[in-house]
Symmetry: C2
Subunit: 578 residues, 2 copies
C-alpha cells in the first residue's frame, strides 16, 4: 500500500489520474485515512455533490494480508445526507484486492463537465478510465454481470446502482462478495450519490498476479494471526452466535429487552419477531437449501453472513442482516421474511442503504403513504425509488427529507441520518452514540448495545443514564481505531473481553509494519480520528445542539418499559472531553 490513486473526473479533456506517494498520509489506513484526507482536502462548506467534494476509498491497515477479518473497506467524503464528514465501510473482496495491488486509497475528485458515465479498471498493469454510457441506470446485479463478461470472474467491483446515479442521499456503494455478487454495501450517508456526482458507475479491480502482502516480521506475524484466530473462535459471540444465526441473532434479544423499534419507533416490542428472528431465518435457510453460515470476504472466520433462497431453493439475496430485517420488518410492522429478503435484494440492486430506507418507509407509513405491515406496498415503494418517480425521489433522500416533505413529526434521525435498530429509550447507551457520533445516528460508531444488553465489556444498566457517556466515549474511540485497521467491527466482541486477543491484534500490526505500538497508541489513534472528524463537522456548522436526539425521545415514553431518553444534554456534551 505504497501509493494513492487520484482521479480528477473534472480534468480538462476528460478524466485523468495520477499515482502518488502517500506522503503525509503514510501509515494510515481505512477510516483514519479517509477522514484525514477529507478533513484536510475537502472544504467543509462545499456542496456535497459539487466539484470540491472528494470520495476516498481506502482498505484497512491489514487488508490484503493473511490476517483474518481484515477485509473491510472504508469510504469517506462530505455526506449529502448529514452535511458532515462520513466514513461508511463494507466487507466483500475489494479491500483485499486493492491492498494487494498496493493502493492505500483511491481518491475521486472534481466533477465531469457533462453527464457521461465512466467505469474504472484497475489491475497490476495500471488504471483505465473508460466512458460507458451503456451502464446508465443498470442495477448493481446486472452491472456486475456485465463486468464479469468484460473482465472475467477474477475481479471485484465497487459500484453504484440507479440511486447513486440519481444522487439520492440514501444511496450506497456496493462491494462484491466472494461469489461476485454486489451484496456488501458502504451503506450510510449517501456515499453512492457522491460517487454518482463524480460520474463513476463502477470501479473494477483485478489483482491477478499480485501476492499476499508480506509482513516485515513473518514469524511474529504468523504467530500473532494464529492467536488472533484462536481468540475469535473461542469467543461465544464470534465463535458460535454469529456463525450460527448471523447478525439477526439479535432480533429476539433486543425485542426481549424492549428496545426493538417497532412501527416507526412507537413501541419497543414487535409481536411478529418470532417470524423474522435469526433463529427462524437460519432454520428456513437450512430447510430450503440456503446457507446460514458464510463469510462475506476471503479470510473471514466469523462467517456471520449466509445465503437466502426462495421456496424453490433459488438464490434471492445474501442473508439479510439484523439491521435490514429490523428496518424493513419490525419498524414497518412487517413479519414476512421472504418479503424482507426481496426488499434486501432490491436495495442491493438499486444501491440503497437498507437502514435509511427502512426508517424512511416507516416515516412514509406514518404519513399515510402505505399501511404499517403492508409488505407489498413497501416493495412497491422501493421500486418507486429505483425508478426515480417523484415519490421515489422523496423516499430515496431518506427519512429526514421524507418527514419534512410530508410534515411528519416523529422522525428518528440525528444529523439527518436515520437511527438503526435499537431504540435509545430502551438502550440509553446507544442513544448517547446516536446523539454524539460524528456520523449522525450510527450504531457501529460506538456499539453500547454490547455492554448495555449483551454483557460484553462489562455491564451498564440499559435503562439508566448513569455510565452511558463514559461507555459511549470509550467505544467510539475504540471503534475509530478498529475502523482504521480494516478489521470487521465484530472482532470487538472478542477483544473487549479477551485481553490476549486484543494484544494479538496489536501484535499483528506491529509485526506487519515493524512497529511497536501499545494499547495506548491504538487509543490515541482512535482519538485523533474522532478529533479530525469533529473538527470538520464544526467547520461544516455542527454544534452541541446537533448532538441531540429528536424531541420525541424525551417526550414520548416507549412501551413496554414506558421510559424516555434520560441522558441530560450537559452529559452528552462530555462525550468529547478527551
Amino acid at each position: 500500500m505504497e501509493k494513492i490513486l487520484r482521479i480528477d473526473m473534472g480534468a480538462e479533456g476528460g478524466p485523468a489520474f495520477k499515482i502518488e506517494e502517500p506522503g503525509e498520509y503514510a501509515g494510515l489506513g481505512g477510516r483514519a485515512l479517509t477522514s484525514t484526507i477529507v478533513s484536510r482536502e475537502v472544504p467543509p462548506l462545499c456542496h456535497p455533490l459539487g466539484e470540491n467534494n472528494k470520495l476516498v476509498i481506502a482498505p484497512g491497515l491489514l487488508s490484503g494480508t493473511t490476517a483474518a477479518m481484515s477485509g473491510r473497506i472504508s469510504i469517506g467524503c462530505k455526506s449529502p445526507l448529514t452535511g458532515g464528514i462520513k466514513e461508511a465501510n463494507a466487507g466483500g473482496q475489494p479491500a483485499q484486492m486493492l491492498a494487494r495491488l498496493g493502493y492505500a486509497a483511491i481518491v475521486l475528485e472534481g466533477k465531469p463537465k457533462d453527464d457521461t458515465l465512466y467505469k474504472i479498471f484497475i489491475n497490476k498493469d495500471g488504471v483505465k478510465i473508460i466512458a460507458d454510457n451503456n451502464l446508465k441506470m443498470l442495477g448493481n446485479y446486472d452491472l456486475v454481470e456485465k463486468m464479469k463478461q468484460e473482465y472475467g470472474d477474477k475481479i471485484s467491483c465497487i459500484s453504484i446502482g440507479p440511486a447513486g446515479e440519481m444522487k439520492m442521499s440514501a444511496s450506497s456503494i456496493a462491494c462484491t462478495d466472494m461469489e461476485l455478487r454486489p451484496t456488501r454495501h458502504a451503506g450510510r450517508g449517501g456515499v453512492g450519490a457522491v460517487m454518482g456526482s463524480k460520474g463513476v458507475k463502477v470501479i473494477v479491480i483485478d489483482d491477478t498476479g499480485m501476492k499476499m502482502r508480506s509482513p516485515k516480521d513473518p514469524e511474529k506475524f504468523k504467530d500473532a494471526t494464529k492467536r488472533w484466530v484462536d481468540g475469535l473462535r473461542k469467543n461465544p459471540t464470534t465463535g458460535q452466535g454469529l456463525p450460527a444465526y448471523g447478525t439477526n441473532v439479535l432480533a429476539n434479544v433486543i425485542n426481549e429487552a424492549g428496545a426493538y423499534p417497532t412501527r416507526n419507533f412507537s413501541n419497543g416490542r414487535f409481536e411478529g419477531t418470532p417470524k423474522i428472528s435469526g433463529e427462524f431465518q437460519a432454520e428456513r435457510e437450512k430447510e430450503r437449501g440456503g446457507l446460514p453460515t458464510h463469510g462475506c470476504h476471503r479470510g473471514c472466520v466469523i462467517r456471520c453472513s449466509g445465503i437466502y433462497v426462495d421456496k424453490d431453493g433459488n438464490y434471492v439475496t445474501k442473508q439479510p442482516e439484523y439491521e435490514t430485517v429490523w428496518a424493513n420488518g419490525a419498524n414497518c410492522g412487517i413479519d414476512d421474511l421472504d418479503a424482507i429478503a426481496q426488499m434486501d435484494r432490491l436495495y442491493d440492486d438499486y444501491g440503497l442503504d437498507t437502514i435509511e430506507m427502512g426508517a424512511t418507509l416507516a416515516v412514509a407509513m406514518e404519513a399515510g403513504i402505505a399501511s404499517f405491515g403492508d409488505a407489498q406496498a413497501a416493495i412497491n415503494l422501493i421500486h418507486e425509488v429505483g425508478k426515480g418517480t417523484h415519490l421515489g425521489r422523496i423516499l430515496g433522500n431518506g427519512a429526514a427529507i421524507t418527514g419534512k416533505v410530508f410534515g411528519v413529526e416523529r422522525v428518528p434521525v440525528v444529523k439527518g441520518q436515520a437511527m438503526p435498530a435499537y431504540d435509545p429509550r430502551g438502550i440509553q447507551g446507544i442513544g448517547v452514540t446516536y446523539a454524539t457520533s460524528t456520523m449522525g445516528a450510527d450504531h457501529t460508531s460506538g456499539y453500547a448495545v454490547a455492554t448495555n444488553i449483551l454483557g460484553v465489556g462489562g455491564k451498564v444498566d440499559p435503562l439508566k443514564p448513569e455510565g452511558q457517556v463514559e461507555l459511549s466515549r470509550n467505544l467510539q474511540i475504540a471503534t475509530a481505531a478498529i475502523d482504521s485497521t480494516g478489521m470487521c467491527l465484530f472482532v470487538a466482541f472478542a477483544i473487549m473481553d479477551q485481553p490476549e486477543t486484543f494484544h494479538a491484534l496489536i501484535d499483528m500490526i506491529n509485526a506487519f509494519y515493524g512497529l511497536s505500538l501499545t494499547a495506548d497508541d491504538v487509543t490515541e489513534l482512535g482519538k485523533s480520528v474522532l478529533k479530525k472528524e469533529r473538527e470538520f463537522n464544526t467547520k461544516a456548522g455542527f454544534t452541541k445542539e446537533h448532538d441531540r436526539l429528536p424531541e420525541f425521545f424525551k417526550k414520548e415514553p416507549l412501551p413496554p418499559h414506558n421510559i424516555t431518553f434520560l441522558v441530560e444534554d450537559n452529559e452528552l456534551d462530555q462525550v468529547y472531553n478527551f
Copy 2:
C-alpha cells in the same frame, strides 16, 4: 393593546383560550413582541410542527391608530423552513382591527388531538373557537367568501390555504386587504405550516364598535402624524416612484444594475425585463381598467399596490409585487405578465410564499422538471403544489428541499430560505444581509439595495466588498426597530434621508405612549430584537458557518459584471459585533 390572547389548541376537552395582561411583554409590539415571546417560550430544539412551537400574531406599536402606514402585522414562530426563529409581516387590515380590539398579540399554542380544523372569531364581545371541517382544503379566496357570508363584510381574516393545512414549508399566512381579499401575506419561513399544525384555518376579526386607539397626548400626536405624512409625500420614492409604478418599479433598475437574478441565478440581466417591468405593468393596468395606485390597508399614503385585471377588465389579483414578478418571471425565464399575475393569484389562493415558490420553480427547471420560460408548465406545477401531489409536496417545501430531492447544486438559499430578487454578486451589500440575517435569506431584514443601488442613505459601491458589513449591520438594526412599530418598511426610504421624518416617527410613538424615546433608544430596541433572535438561533444550532452564502456565489462569476461574492467570511462575522 392591553391584553394578550392565548389559545391552547391542545387543551383537554378541546381548544381553550385565556386573555392575559401583557406583563413582562408590555410596551412591545410587532416583531419585538413576536421575537421576545418566541425566544422566551419556545424551546429552540422543538419540532416546528409540534406542540411546543407557538405562533405569535402581533400588530405593531402604532397599529390601530391614525398614524399613516401603521398597518403591518408581525407573525412569529420557530420556522419549519429554516429551523430558526421567524418573523414574517404583512399588510392588510388585521393589524388595525386587532389593535383596536385591544390585542397586543394572539398566541396559538399546543396541538389538537385530532385533525379537526378550527376557525376563531374575535370581536368586541370576545373570542369563539369553532370546529369547522367544511373549511378543509379551501383556497383563501373561497374561504374568505365563506367567512363574509357568515360574519358580514366588516371583518378581516388571517388564514391559511391548502399549503398551510398540508404543513408545507413554503406556506404563507394570508391577511385580507381593504377589499376583503386574501392578498397580503406573511410569506416567508413557512408560518402557514405552523398555523396548520395548530389546526387553525382562519382567524376572523370584527372590530365593529371599536374606536381608533387614543394617544396619551392627542395634540402632539396629531402634529407628528402631519409631519410624518408630509415627509412621506415629499420623498421621491414614497411620494412618487412607489405610488406610480408599485414595487416593481425596481425591475428595470435592478436589471440595469446587472443584479436581476435570471434563470436560477445564472445571469444578472433578463432580456424579457421590458415586458414585466413596473412601468409596463402600470401601463397595462391603466389600459385595461385596473388600478396602478392603491393601498393595501386603510391609512396607507404610499399606495404602492394596485389591481391587476385581465384583458376583459376582470380582477385577477392585486398588483404583483416586484419580488413576485421577479421570482416567477426573470428567475424562471418567463416574460409573460398575465401568466405571472395568474401565478400570483394561485399563490395567494393556495397560501404560498411567492418568493420561495418562484425560486423553487427555477430550481425545478434546472433539474429538468420543466423548461425555463415555459409559463404554462410553471402554472401546472403550482397546481401540483395546491393539490398536494408528490411532486407538489416536494416543491411546496421550498427550494432547499427541492434541490436536495433532485440533486441540484445551484440552490440559492441561506439557512434553508430562498433568496429574493437581488443577486448578491451584483449587489454585495444585500449578500451580507442574506448571509447574516436571523431570518435566512431575506431582503427586508436589511435592505442594502437602497444604499448600493438607489443612493438612499448614502452611497456604497454595489460591486465592492468595502463598507457592506457596516451598511448591512445598521440596516438590520433599523429594520428590527421599524418592524416593531407596525410601520410599513417602505417608510425607510423617507426616514433614511430625511431626519425630520425620522423624528416625526419617534414623536408619534412618544406622543402616543407618553414616552420620551430618543433615536438611540430606537437603535437599542433594534439591537435587542436582533440579539434575542440570534440567541434563539444559536440555541437552535446555528453558527457562523450558517452565516454564509452557498458555495456557487464564490465560484461562479455572474454576468454581465462577471463578479463573484467578495465579502470575506471573517468580515461577515463582524455584522453582529454590537
